[in-house]
Structure formats: C-alpha cells, structure tokens
C-alpha cells in the first residue's frame, strides 16, 4: 500500500469514526444535575429501600406496598432529566427498550397498565398527594412538603454515595 492509499484509508476511517461517534446517543453530553429523590405518598408504610428494591418496584415485580395498598408508578415524560436518570441507573434501558419492556409486561399478563406519565412537577406532586401508594422520582432541588422522601441504600439525596444522579 503506497502513501496515497494509506492517506485515503485513514481519511475514510476518520470519517467513519466521526460519523459513528457523533451519531451515537451515548456520545451526547448528558447534563449532570441534582440528585433525583425517590418520593412516595406520605401514607406509604415505607421509609427506606435498597436500589434493587427500587428496581423491583419500577420493573413491576413488586406491585403492592402491602396487601391493601398497590404501588402506583409515576414517571416523567420523555426528555425530562428525572426520566433519563431512572432509565439509565435503575432500568438500564434505552427509551425504546423501556417502551418495549412495558408492552411485553402487559402482554405477559404481569401488569394491567404501564407507569402513569406525568408532564410537570406540579402534576407529579398533585398525584403524589392524591394517590395512595404513589411513587415518583423528583429532582431534589424541586422538593415540596407533604410527601415522603425515601432513603435509597441508606442514603438521602445530597449524600456522596446517593445512587440516583
């Protein structure tokens, strides 16, 4: 291979690498914000969950807080940072995989409905206070009273080892 050919090959490899890198969503810069708090209705009889327990709740494998109180899952609409954190850290899924997961979950008769989508913080807090058993994921800078913030793996938002950020 002569020098010209080498240059051509390097040029095309560079173009290919740049195209793949820039096209990949994983290359997109994700803004790092505040911790995402796990928040429940204040009457929910729970104060502390491990990350794997939070995952079980979000995967629909745990559907009841106790035999009288079903879990009501609230998730922010696509493009909200809280949703990005939940998908990345807890589900470990892309947006497409998350949608497919819930279609399959209902199709397997393992759940009757997907998580309820909330479009704003206001709506999220209204549902959290109105629906017994509700659980939601809130940017810790936007906390409001009247709800309960759960410890995750023994940590609260702001702790160095808090896992949801």
């Amino acid at each position: 291979m002569n020098a010209t050919n080498k240059r051509v090959v390097i040029f095309f490899w560079t173009i290919l690498w740049a195209a793949v890198t820039l096209h990949s969503p994983s290359a997109a810069q994700t803004s790092r914000g505040a911790d995402v708090a796990v928040v429940v209705n204040s009457d929910t009889p729970i104060a502390d969950l491990s990350l794997s327990e939070v995952r079980k709740v979000l995967l629909g494998e745990r559907q009841y807080w106790n035999s009288k109180l079903p879990v009501v899952l609230l998730i922010r609409a696509p493009a909200a940072r809280e949703r990005d954190v939940v998908l990345r850290v807890i589900y470990q899924m892309s947006e497409a995989q998350f949608k497919q997961y819930w279609v399959a979950k209902i199709f397997r008769a393992e759940a009757a409905a997907p998580p309820r989508i909330v479009y704003s913080n206001d709506m999220q807090f209204e549902l959290l206070t109105a629906l017994p058993g509700a659980i939601a994921f809130v940017d810790s800078r936007n906390m409001r009273p009247g709800v309960k913030v759960l410890r995750v793996d023994g940590h609260v938002p702001g702790d160095k080892d808090y896992p949801l950020r």
């Binding site: 969503p25 493009a79 209902i106 009757a112 209204e126 549902l127």
Partner: protein, 428 residues
C-alpha cells in the same frame, strides 16, 4: 428467484429511504427537553409567588420576564415542613389528576401483526408471502385487585381465517406473594412460552423455537385451569413461582381441552424461577408438568399414557448480549405396557444489540435440537437439528424488519434444507 430478491432489495431500500426522511428524533427530544425545562422554571416561579406573603402586586410583564436563578440543591431532610403550599383552586392540572386516578373497568387493547416472505430449497415447497397472525391483546383492570387479560388471534388459512382464543384469564391479586387466576394460559413450562406469546414483534427472531411452536406438540403450549403465582420472600435470590391445575392435553394433543377434559385426571404444573437482584437481567428456572394423556384411537398397545415433563432455562434478558437457553425432557409411560420413552429438545439463542445507528440493529443466532426415539408412541417423529442466523432492524420503536437464513435437517435420511425468511412485524 432473481425477481423475488430484487423486490426484497427494493423493500429494504424503501424502508431505509423512509427512515432517512423521518425527522431526527434527537432534535425533537432536545426541543421537548427545552420546553420541559421552561415549564419547570415557570412552575418554580409560580410556587415561589404562591408561598410569598401578600405583597405589592408585581407587574405581569416583570413576572414573565423573570426567570428564576437555579436554587441551591436541597437534601430531602432540608425540605421545608408541610405547610399550606400549592393550595390551588380547581384547575386544569387537578382535572388531569382526576383523569389519572384509576377507573374500572379500564380496557386497553393492543394489536400485533406480521407479514412474511420465505423461500427454501426444499423439494415441493413454494416460496412466497404469507400473512402472519393478527393478534389482539386485551387488558382490563376490574378493580385494584382484579384484572382480566385476553388474547385473540386471526389466522390465515387456505379457505379463509380462523379466530382463536389464545388466552383468557381473570386474576385476583391478594398481594405480591399470592395471585390466583382462572382461564386459558400459555403453560408456564420453561421461558419462551410465557415470555413472548403470539406477537412476533416481541421476540428477537421471526419464529419460535420448534419445541414451543404454536400448534406444536412437544410441550403443551396452552393450559386451561387455575394458576397461583407470586414472589417468594427470598432476599437477593428473587424467587417466584407458578403452580397450576388444569385439564391437560386434549384428544388432539396440541390442544388443551377447552371444552372439557377427555379423562378424569387433572394435569398439574409447577414453575420456580429466580431473578437474582445482584445480576439484573439474569433469570434461571425449573418446571415440571404431569398429565395423563388419552389418545382417541385405541390400539392393542393401549391409548393411555402418563406424561412427565421436566424443563430448565437460563436467560440473560439484556440485549448486550441477549442469551436464551432452554431444555425440556418429555417422558411418556404407556399405562398398559409400562413402556417408557424420553424425548428431548433444547435451544440456545444469542443476540447482540449493536451500538451504532441508534441501536436499531441486532444480529442473532439460534441452534436448536429435538430428538424423539423410534419407540415413541404419543408424538409423531419431531427430530430436528437446525441453525438460524439473522438480523433484526428496528424501523421504529414499534415495528421491525427481520431477515434470517435457516439450515435445518429433520430425519437422518432427509436432506438439509436451506431457506431465507423475511418478516416485518409491529405492534399498534
């Protein structure tokens, strides 16, 4: 053959062109993100204004011009004590809240469909298109403890369409540890039969493995009866169970006796599986199934058999990589002669979601093997050694295009069959 390939190539290019013309999803996502951030800022501003003690009114222009500066992050413990914040009058958002509160019954319908093209070098076989199953899935919460699930399929036949009730289940949830249901199920033996059901879009490949083929007989795909299921308190082991009693195989052994059992013996099934919390994505399980089969044709050797199925599976459900492996042994014992046969089947499937092109491509490979001995009296011969290699391309979040090459061999005396299979499948 050349003309068919040309048509397929045109279809692929057509799909690519359509994809290329669609707007960039990342741009839309960015726009939505900006709008959501703006909504959040405005909400924060409203909250601030509502919590302020009555003060001189702020000119509207000033309010709309002000964008609050980012607040210092607060920890949960630093959150203010409950107070009279956000005491809205009945508003639009409260109406939305009411809309999101559960209502019963709440019927949801989802459909699945697929269109296929196949061509093989098997003598006597014809190539061409065929319409796959049109599948309707119904889910309806009847109360917060009771739910109905149904699945209907419309199947193309040479003389028209047949409609089949694939599943019809009413389930009462006591809690996560005990859920009791009645109806027609996919028998919880192994993994595939309860993971993918009829919608081809849900599974990576075009078709099911032969051992769990719809209409096949190796394992009883459907089951009519009752089923108890739930989680088992087991810490990190993440154990769950299914235990059921039902009619078992009918006179046509691929069917479950929907209209009534054909003997006075009930079948039972038990399935135990684990999803370890520290290995998110892993599932391992074992299943057993017991039944008495009464064949409609009485022969001198008898027509009644005891059936004992034992199965095991291990799967890694993430897509980088995806790994599915399942094994089943079907034991038949002739009640009259005590003659015993064992039939085995297994498959191993691997797939990998490629990181490029927005993770739309997923190549996969599956090897499957089925063995039935010559002395087997319940099954007709089902021997199979086969490999498939394919590529799944997700056109959108809810539709995909799959292409497969298959190499299969049935009996030792049969020739190997090579084939190309294409499918587009979707949910709606």
């Amino acid at each position: 053959m050349h003309r068919q390939l040309a048509v397929l190539v045109m279809m692929i290019f057509g799909a690519n062109a359509a994809w290329a013309q669609s707007p960039r999803p990342l741009d839309q996502a960015e726009q939505i993100r900006i709008l959501l951030e703006r909504v959040q800022q405005l909400e924060k501003r409203v909250a601030e204004l509502e919590t302020k003690t009555p003060a001189a009114p702020v000119p509207a222009a000033e309010v709309s011009a002000n964008v609050p500066a980012p607040q210092k992050p607060e920890t949960a413990e630093a959150a203010p004590a409950p107070g009279p914040m956000h005491q809205h009058e009945p508003t639009e958002s409260q109406a939305t809240t009411r809309q999101l509160e559960a209502r019963y019954p709440s019927l949801q319908i989802r459909g699945f469909g697929d269109v296929n093209f196949s061509t093989t070098d098997q003598r006597g076989a014809t190539s061409g298109f065929n319409l796959g199953q049109l599948d309707l899935h119904l889910a309806s919460a009847l109360s917060h403890k009771v739910t109905y699930f149904g699945e209907l399929t419309f199947n193309a036949q040479p003389t028209g369409y047949t409609v089949e009730v694939e599943r019809s289940i009413i389930r009462y949830d006591y809690n996560d540890f005990f859920k009791l249901s009645f109806g027609r199920y996919h028998t919880p033996i192994g993994y595939w039969n309860t993971a993918f059901h009829h919608g081809a879009w849900l599974q990576t490949t075009i078709s099911r493995p032969d051992m769990v083929r719809i209409g096949g007989t190796f394992i009883p795909v459907h089951f009519v009866g009752l089923l108890a299921e739930g989680n088992i308190p087991s810490g990190g082991a993440g154990l769950s169970y299914n235990v059921g009693v039902g009619n078992g195989r009918g006179s046509i052994i691929s069917r479950p006796g929907d209209a009534g059992d054909n003997n006075n013996n009930r079948a039972w099934v038990a399935n135990l599986y684990s999803r370890p919390t520290k290995l998110y994505g892993l599932q391992m399980g074992v299943s057993v199934y017991r039944d008495k089969i009464t064949l409609p044709v009485v022969s001198p050797a008898g027509n009644e058999f005891r059936e004992w199925i034992s199965a095991a599976h291990i799967v890694w459900t993430k897509e980088n990589p995806e790994f599915l492996a399942e094994f089943a042994n079907v034991n038949h014992k002739n009640i009259l002669t005590n003659a015993v046969t064992n039939n085995q089947a297994y498959y191993v499937q691997v797939g990998y979601r490629l990181p490029w092109l927005e993770k739309t491509l997923k190549p996969y490979y599956r090897f499957e093997h089925t063995h039935t001995p010559f002395s087997e009296q319940v099954f007709t011969n089902q021997d199979l050694v086969g490999s498939i290699v394919g590529l799944r391309y997700d056109i959108t979040n809810y539709a995909s295009f799959k292409s497969e090459y298959r190499n299969t061999k049935r009996l030792p005396t049969d020739p190997r069959v090579n084939g190309a299979f294409f499918q587009t499948d979707f949910t709606f």
